[in-house]
Every structure is written in structure tokens, then in C-alpha cells.
Symmetry: C2
Subunit: 136 residues, 2 copies
């Protein structure tokens, strides 16, 4: 048995064409506010985090045409992109993925947005879901 590793749904990430328009949609429809906004040049994205209890809606838009999010938008259009799970220790969770035969995108944890440490798990081997492990 694997010990429980996921302590929270950190965020659901949604790829959008226009970040301001998406922020306005969520604000007008559901009363959400932007808790954090950041351009992550290493990932070619700008993100806005809308707080929901102890989790976030992460709106993501590409900042360059070579961003994976740009490719996603071209292929599928706007919509759910990945899910981030909060973990106590990103390296431990990543090792559990590897030990279980999963395929990873990041071989070791790396810096994420807002000072987090993150690693991505490849959707192949994870029932089609791009999973981000997030250590605060």
C-alpha cells in the first residue's frame, strides 16, 4: 500500500485564449477574484489564480507560440489543461510515480509559480491526465 500523498487539489488549470476575458467571466459569473497573477517565462505562460477555499482555478494563456499551452489551444481549443495536486514532498511523490511505473515529464522537482516546487507527470501512464505535483 502507498501512503496517502495528495493533501489537496491545489488547482485545476484551464487553458484560455484571453486571460483578462476569462478572469472577467469567472468574476462576473461566480464572484471570484484574482489572488495571484504571474508570467512564467520558462513555461511560456501567464497565469491567474482564482482562490476557491484552499484551492485555485488556474487560468493559463500562452505568451509565446512555442508554448505547450499554445499547442494545446490549437489542437483542442480552450478548456481543462491539467490538474495540480498538493503534496508534502514533491520528490517523494515523484518517486512514487516512477516506482509505480508511471512516466514523468520532470525527472526531478523544479521551481513552479508563486514559489512552489513542482513536477509534471505525463498523461500517458496516468489515464490521460496531465498531473502536476505541487509542494508549497
Amino acid at each position: 500500500m502507498t501512503a496517502p500523498l495528495l493533501t489537496e487539489i491545489d488547482h485545476v488549470a484551464i487553458a484560455v485564449e484571453d486571460l483578462d476575458a476569462a478572469i472577467a467571466y469567472y468574476a462576473e459569473t461566480f464572484g471570484t477574484t484574482v489572488e495571484h497573477r504571474e508570467r512564467v517565462d520558462s513555461d511560456g505562460v501567464e497565469e491567474a489564480l482564482l482562490k476557491v477555499a484552499d484551492s485555485y482555478i488556474q487560468l493559463l494563456t500562452p505568451t509565446t507560440s512555442s508554448s505547450p499551452v499554445a499547442a494545446f489551444l490549437e489542437r483542442r481549443g480552450e478548456g481543462l489543461h491539467h490538474v495540480g495536486y498538493r503534496v508534502d514532498d514533491c520528490a517523494v511523490a515523484l518517486r512514487s510515480v516512477q516506482d509505480s511505473g508511471g512516466r514523468v515529464i520532470d525527472e526531478t522537482p523544479r521551481p513552479g509559480s508563486r514559489g512552489t516546487t513542482v513536477a509534471f507527470v505525463h498523461p500517458r501512464g496516468a489515464h490521460g491526465t496531465l498531473i502536476e505535483l505541487v509542494q508549497e
Copy 2:
């Protein structure tokens, strides 16, 4: 300004081909356990809920070929299907969607799984995301 309506990410829903295989993947990789399992014939699905803090990973598989989840799997393969947000009053949240010009799938709240009251918001008009409003 709209008052904040979303009190929690109730669940992220993931469409899978084989419910037992997906349950085993999450158990072996992340140590999750099944909190609830239910066949929802009105939606043509069987679901398993894996608890993560006060939220769930909802694994969904079709029980009939006419299920929308069967169509999703055929079109896109396994992966993120929709996101459920918990609300205090499903009717109030649904009205806010309609008042903001959003397009709904359910014109009025209806019974969901595990005794909830739910309504789905159409991804067109919601930046490509199928959204479920969940009142416990």
C-alpha cells in the same frame, strides 16, 4: 459585483475506459482510496470518488454506448472531463450563470450522485470548460 458563489472544488472528473484499472492506478501511485462508488443510470456512467482533503477525484466510465462520456472517450480518449464546484445553493448559482449570459445544460437543478443537487453549465460560453455546480 457577484458575491462569491464557489465554496470548494468539489471534484475533478476524469473519463476512463476501465474504472477498476484507474482506481488501482491512483491507489498504487498516490495512496488514494475509494470513498464512494455509484452507478448513475440517468447519466449512463459509473463513478468512483477518491477523497483528497475536502474534494474528490471523480473517475467516470460510461455504462452505455449512448453515454456522453462514451462519446468523449471516442473523441478525445481518457482524460479530464469536467470540474465540479461546490455551491451553497445550486439554483442561485445557476441563475447567476444565466444572468451573466452563460449557456446552461440543465435549466433547473436536478439530482446528482451521492444525494447532491447539481446543474451543468455548457462549455460554450464558459471558456471551453464543462462546469458542474454541486450542492451537497
